[in-house]
């Protein structure tokens, strides 16, 4: 396997056990993602997008195959090793925002830094990122007081505050209206262009997928096309 990509996947299989039945979710995925790339992953429900996302993010181990993320072989990592990888290497953005409801936006961001073992207060340059995200004036509000778009931008800030090698976004505009979707996608593109942030984005929306440098199409647990 070449060492050119920040993500390199070869022959990846993932099978879930549901009761007594084996359900294959990924059936041999090969994928390379370069450092600084913005890759969109599209496909119908059940095509294996989320499973791929979970494996790359270290939320679940692969059944077989080789998965290297920022030089780490995920198939060789223990549960604790994958936890460490989530702490340092990847940042998640979810469709449902997944902010901690009892904390302010500022504290949601601080928790991510705390878990990553960094100072509670981000570096001064992070203020620029907050301005870029347009949430600098909303940091002392709890999620319930923020709009969906604002919540998602706080989630993006939380994901990147620890400077992850890869930002994984799972349907980041799935719960947003058109205007907010566009704003969030613009933010992701800005982060990619200005900071060189590597981004993998799962989406159902072909227009959203256009924001990526390239798009991978999945079906039945396989990558069927890359454009």
């Amino acid at each position: 396997m070449s060492e050119t990509g920040i993500i390199e996947i070869r022959g990846l299989h993932k099978t879930y056990r549901v009761g007594r039945v084996d359900v294959p979710a990924l059936r041999g995925v090969d994928l390379t993602v370069g450092r600084g790339e913005f890759l969109s992953i599209v496909g119908p429900s059940g095509s294996g997008k989320s499973t791929l996302f979970h494996i790359i993010g270290g939320l679940t181990p692969p059944t077989s195959g080789e998965v290297r993320v920022d030089g780490q072989d995920l198939s060789a990592l223990s549960d604790a090793g994958r936890t460490l990888m989530r702490k340092r290497t990847v940042g998640f953005v979810f469709q449902k925002f997944n902010l901690l409801p009892n904390l302010t936006a500022r504290d949601n961001i601080a928790v991510a830094r705390h878990i990553a073992g960094l100072d509670h207060k981000p570096a001064r340059e992070f203020d620029e990122v907050l301005n870029l995200l347009g949430i600098a004036h909303r940091l002392d509000h709890k999620p319930a007081a923020l709009s969906g778009g604002e919540q998602q931008r706080v989630a993006i800030a939380r994901a990147i505050v620890k400077h992850p090698a890869i930002l994984l976004a799972d349907e980041p505009t799935g719960n947003l209206d058109t205007e907010n979707s566009r704003a969030v996608l613009e933010v992701l593109r800005d982060l990619n262009q200005r900071l060189g942030q590597t981004i993998l984005m799962i989406t159902h929306n072909p227009e959203a997928a256009e924001y990526g440098h390239s798009t991978v199409h999945m079906r039945d647990g396989r990558i069927v096309e890359r454009r």
């Binding site: 939320l59 679940t60 936890t83 989530r86 702490k87 979810f94 901690l100 409801p101 928790v111 939380r158």
Partner: protein, 353 residues
Amino acid sequence: MRSLLSILLIGVPVTLILCLVGLSRGFIEDSQRRARGVGADILIRPKGSSMLSLGYSMPAALVDYFRQQSHVQIATGVLNATVEGVTLGASGVDPKAFAEMSGGFVFRSGGMFQGPDDVIIDDYYADQKKYRPGDKIKMLNHEWRVSGIMESGKLSHIVVPLATMQEVKGESGKVSQIYLKLDNPANTKAVIDALNHDPKLGGDYPIYPMEEYTSLLSVNNIPGLKPFTYVIVGIGVVIGFAVVCLSMYMAVLQRTREIGILKSLGASKPFILRIILTEALMLGAGGTILGILMSYGAYWLIRTLVPASFPMIIVHEWWPIAGAITLVATGLGALYPGFSAAAHDPIEALAYE
């Protein structure tokens, strides 16, 4: 709301423990204070009795015999009766001899017996029963007239004439204990040695120096009190454990998604466990503080309603003990929910609605 309820439920056994300790200590300190208030140097109990046993008596004629012994200045006999269980008793005294020995009762209102059916009560009992001088009261199947209300701290909460007490109890010519006051307290040991070797007494009467008697009034010497305290402490631990276990288990269920979020951010199992334990310990600390506050409430209530029957005190040195017991119980109670939370699969937790 869940947390407040948990704190309240954790606080209840803390209050229970502190009240039990406060009551037992208060009862002992009250007994010691009243025993010292007699002003005697030596206490003689009936044959076969122990320090705290009730229902024993000895001939009142012994009082005169003891009075004739060398170094004995005053001797007086007292006949005791229980009024409300073991916590409240009355004593029959020879007013003249007892006043000489103790320096006399200090009256808040009214005065000494005017007749055989008169009773004097201390301010605690008067407050508890709302009695005033001149009131008629029914006690020991006999009607009495309150002749005076005395300052608490001498012998008993309720004092009646010895002869009437003997008649009421059907123990004419008997006393429960005899107090001796010596010419010099330094002679206490010599007098006790002499009495113990007196062939007329046969060495059968338990004789205590008053200092030793009061020091023997302790939690350790009251039968069953220490095991009872342990049982209450055990109940406290079990309640604290169960409350925290249920409360934190509910919290873990309610926060499954949040646990998934933390895990997606890279939170390790020990990190999640630490959060749950920290919250449980905070509940425990809150419960301890509330329990202490509630013990003051119980103290006020007991001192207002039954100050003579239950002379409760606040025992500050038991605060850290009750706190430690509670924290251990809450810490143990949080372990299962904590491990359960730490073991959550992050994907399933994130999908939890």
